[in-house]
Subunit: 361 residues, 2 copies
């Protein structure tokens, strides 16, 4: 036995222990093949089963209709920031953005290279403490697409009601995909790096409406066209086979937990412990995000001063809590409570927060 | 104990058993961190050590001078086919190609999108049975670069003497990097997907001369500029951390074997068994590649007819030999004898080939 860390990393992040144990067990000899899953040809029947299982499970868990493609790509959200405008933003068209943090900014920056862009709403002036509400979607009818970041890892905010967009809605769901039930049909394209809720880094999931994919330009490098990966079932070139295998195990685990609905309930409970500790602290801990925009996945909070923050982080580390330092643009602390972070870890953190407050107030 | 397959897959391919066993041992609890290596933040000290160890070991094993950068990217050779011309081929410039197989063709196709291209030599007419020799490098002085594919997985050919190019020499070494000693300084840029000699799929190694990197255009999407990855030590976005960890273990294993010189000796011996079986077969087995161009890594051969080929592959599979079917463009059989394929597997295959011949002649 070993002491498992309370892993609150922002990503790469916790992976369910049973998933790691299963991967460990079959690492050298997968399915009695005499090979590791890493050693299988990506054209073999054995690997094909893994690949298809990941696809099927994701479709099942997120209720993805047949009118959508599911792709497994490389390069993370950062490559999607360029692939999306390269495929869908013609020079005379405008891509609209709602700005909710650093990742929205990066997506916007790359889109500018390909066509016109317009900021529809932004909470930048308030250091991204909230998701903009009540902004108008009028006049965007001619736009190529509307881009949002569904959860903001750094600032700890998350969309609850997605806009009903008159143009294709695209969402970067890297840090909250599979954390709660969503209506896929509101979106034309969803993308997510795996390293928060889906598994290890190295694979990017894209869920896209077939009808929307058909509007892509054909004038792009082969590997950067979505159509290339659609036509080859994400096997145009060698995919990151082990990462996709891990993804399939994580998806199986989500199913075993009762699916996304059950995961959502657990996430609400988990985040609840920590938000309660903040609320009951009489402003010793202050949430960065406004109440209506609080993320289920990344809980950002500050302490009364730098010195206490430092002390909190040092003592937390001694008590086996990992990854609690906030991003420099917010300061303070951040607890990332992704799907794989167990309830016990969140309860333990809430208890530690109370204890620390009592000892240091 | 389990029966380990004789893995002759073309890639993803065999990984050294001690490497898999080490990865298995520490999969759930890396370095007593209470976390898997997959769960570490890519900004953590623990991961940084892994990342830097991979870099340092590769430099040490290939004698890479300080005037070169070593990068760990995503997207495989297929993304490099576009990134290279995007960065280094201006519209009024010409990229020169020596065509030695299907991968050269793909590299050429993508380069055409960005500037002028010229085929300097090709063995396509002979179904790529050999590496073109004695072609002239005259008149290419104004070219942007000269591109070669150092080893041709499908056709089983490999360069022995690289051209001394008056312009930057770029090589796709996906299927033979680290198989033999090379003079890095002949090249301005080397790239290689990991899934043959370096580890699992999902990470691409780029070795590039700093001086050459400085000639890149600044006009490309952020993630597709080499400078982005140079400036951030391959940590611009979340890297494929587990794949890089596996790479570091494979490199440690190469070092333990005695380095690249020792690996080369083993590879020559390993390939020797199989080429001997072909040569001594009195033309029952015929090598696809001409003798001067034979690959140390992929041994391609045909049998007298389709029926015997099928029978050979079926019986081989029953005898625990995996991945021996040839690519459809060559037919017949292919044994990929990458670094991690043990000598015993090659001896066993040679013995099986003799036995099969005796029983079927």
């Amino acid at each position: 036995m070993f002491l498992r860390a309370y892993n609150f990393n922002a990503g790469p992040a916790a992976i369910p222990l049973p998933v790691l144990e299963k991967a460990q067990k079959e690492l050298v000899n997968f399915n009695n093949s005499g090979m590791s899953v890493m050693e299988l040809s990506h054209r073999s029947k054995e690997y094909e089963d893994v690949h298809n299982r990941a696809n099927t499970l994701l479709r099942e868990l997120l209720l993805i209709p047949d009118s959508y493609e599911v792709l497994f790509l490389q390069g993370g959200a950062s490559l999607q920031f360029s692939m999306i405008p390269m495929n869908f933003l013609q020079q005379d068209k405008t891509a609209h953005f709602v700005m909710t943090g650093a990742w929205s900014e990066k997506a916007l920056k790359e889109a500018k290279r390909f066509g016109e862009t317009r900021i529809l709403a932004s909470s930048k002036e308030e250091n991204y403490t909230h998701i903009p509400q009540g902004f108008s979607l009028e006049g965007i009818e001619d736009g190529a697409y509307l881009h949002i970041t569904s959860n903001n890892t750094i600032f700890g905010t998350q969309w609850t009601d997605y806009p009903t967009s008159p143009i294709p809605l695209i969402a970067d769901m890297s840090s909250d995909i599979l954390c709660k039930e969503i209506d896929i049909e509101k979106f034309s394209l969803i993308y997510a790096g795996a390293q928060k809720n889906l598994g290890p880094s190295g694979v990017t999931v894209v869920i896209a409406k077939k009808e929307f994919l058909e509007t892509a330009t054909d004038d792009a490098p082969t590997i950067l066209k979505y159509s290339t990966h659609v036509d080859s079932q994400s096997l145009y070139n060698t995919p990151p086979t082990f990462s996709i295998y891990m993804l399939s195990l994580v998806l199986e685990w989500v199913k075993e937990q009762g699916g996304v609905k059950a995961i959502q309930k657990m996430n609400e409970e988990k985040a609840g412990y920590i938000y309660s500790a903040i609320e009951q602290s009489n402003k010793f801990y202050k949430a960065h995000a406004t109440e209506d925009s609080r993320s289920l996945m990344n809980i950002t909070f500050t302490l009364p001063n730098e010195e206490l923050t430092k002390k909190f982080l040092t003592e937390a580390k001694e008590r086996n809590f990992i990854g609690l330092a906030g991003h420099r643009s917010v300061g303070g602390c951040r607890a990332s409570t992704y799907n794989a972070v167990p309830k016990e870890a969140c309860e333990a953190l809430a208890a530690f927060m109370k204890e620390f407050q009592e000892n240091n107030q």
